[in-house]
Amino acid sequence: MILGSINPAVLMAALMVAATPILLAAIGELVVEKAGVLNLGVEGMMIMGACLGFIVAVNTGSPVLGFVGAACAGMALSLLFALLTQALMTNQVASGLALTLFGLGLTALLGQRYVGITPPRTPKLDLGPLSEIPFLGRALFSHDIVVYLTIALVAAVWWFLNYSRAGMILRAVGENHDAAHALGYHVRRVRVFAIMFGGACAGLGGAYLSLIRVPQWTEGMTVGAGWIALALVVFASWRPWRALAGAYLFGGVVVLQLNLQAAGVKIPVEYLSMSPYLITIFVLVLISSGKARGSLNAPGSLNRPFHASD
């Protein structure tokens, strides 16, 4: 009787929206990790995007400019990470953590006066007759443009990594930076670009949360979405389409959980809202344990510092 009250078309529509922010962040991080860099600052870059995107959108009245601002904010923070890890050769794990701690603090400061404001609305994309189709129209063709652009981005990243020359260089840098360096590729330059791309994507993911999904600004509003995105990259075994599948699976869990809350199931809200994190851990365990061996697909130079004179 509880599940009966949930409309599958609405559920499908909601899960696409729930999946989009983490998918954006994950696809960016996937490229970063493919280049051999582990940026644990996704959460920090996401919250920067959420906050700055919100501020820009509110002040200009344009959600589009908000997203642009968010991408720039995420990228700016990622450049700091690039400076630390690529120029100053710092530990990537520690630098990523620093990025997250700093981002959470800075946004709490910057966003203070924006709590409780409603951002300008992002219109749904008008797909004409497509959205009139029964079931599918409601489920698939009644979203804002970012949902579709994100899917397009996944496709673009997939094409880039597998079929473009630049993508192959990026993968070479990530698999074996010494060999790539010996072949004359600019390891550091490639990595800095990858890190910037990851930052922009994380920023966009954050803005999607604050401008469309929630839509509001609250301190620390990403509540672990960046970490879930990091887990998603592992789950996807560094493959773009699997990241999409994983994000939608995850979105489904989140939405189902929210629906169960709304339907007034006898389980306390606190326990239900744990489920996204628990399921992420469970999936991580599945993918990294014996049979699946997904983790064997990890880029060879991931999280290894590169210095040309070593």
């Binding site: 710092t90 953590l97 701690l101 981002g103 603090g105 800075l106 592992v234 851990i281 991580l284």
Partner: protein, 361 residues
Amino acid sequence: MIRLEKRKEPSTFWRIANPFLAVALTMVAGGIMFAALGKDPIAAIRLIFFDPIFSAQFGSYSRPQLLIKSAPLILIAIGLAIGFKANIWNIGAEGQYIIGALFGAGVALAFFPAPGWYIFPLMVLAGAFGGFLWAMIPAILKTRFNTNEILVSLLLVYVAERILAAMALGLMRNPDVAGFPGSRDLRRYEAAHNAELIAGTGIHWGVVAALVAVIFAYAMMTRHMLGYHIKLAGQAPRAARFAGVSPARLVVVCLGISGALAGLAGMFEVSGPGGQVRIEFASGYGFTAIIVAFLGRLNPLGIVLAGLLLGLTYIGGELAQMMLQLPGASIQVFQGMLLFFLLALDFQTNYRLRLTKGARI
């Protein structure tokens, strides 16, 4: 052109000088930030770093606070540093801190209102055990299934926060006060109260535990085989394996120690300064302790100094919030900047700047 040249040996001078330099740079950058917020930078820095200790006006209140805030930071950071040395990244100390507090408070609330000298020691054991258990989840998943301990320990923080909320609203709620979330006040329950040991100093059992942990960690890292194995595994994992060091055992030991210490910190907090299980109980000590561990160079004595400094920023931040209406979050920014500067400066420890003529080859 400027280029980096790798040093043959890491520079000891810079290893020790960098934390001080990082603090100085953070003060400068923080001053700029405060000026941008329209506050007097000098006054703000003074209020955060000097007034809590030296001011006649606030000193009597804030001096004892220094130990109260620093003890949990030091206790947690000591455990984290042991793991970081072995390249085992427990970044979910905040979650272990919460679960330790819940276990400790759970014991107290189960005995309430019975008197008994044995209740507090039982709570201490329960707190350490709770943190240990919570840290064993990433440890066992890492050793059995090779799951990344960074992600699991961090994700468990969010789970622990939900459990805390559920406890404050449900099982552990004070049955005598209707309508309010939160447990009984443990400070009003004699047998469970982690009281001040010497009046006016802020010294409670958590401070004593932090001191013991520092000495214990120092002895272990410098005198005991385990400490040697930990360092070996961090610096030369292959050599460590040949020497017969079991990576799985190290993961369990390092996560176990840091989890137990974080759990202890949570238990001492909930039974003393915190007072009760509340939804807002967690205050980010588990994350700040990561900064403390790095700033203290993963060295027990360094961690004491770093813990005192960051404890100071907590109190100074509160003062600045009160006196200058500075936003509370600016202290978080401060702490983040500190870690950035430290990491950035550390390139000098391992590399040397060289000026070269002409283009880089």
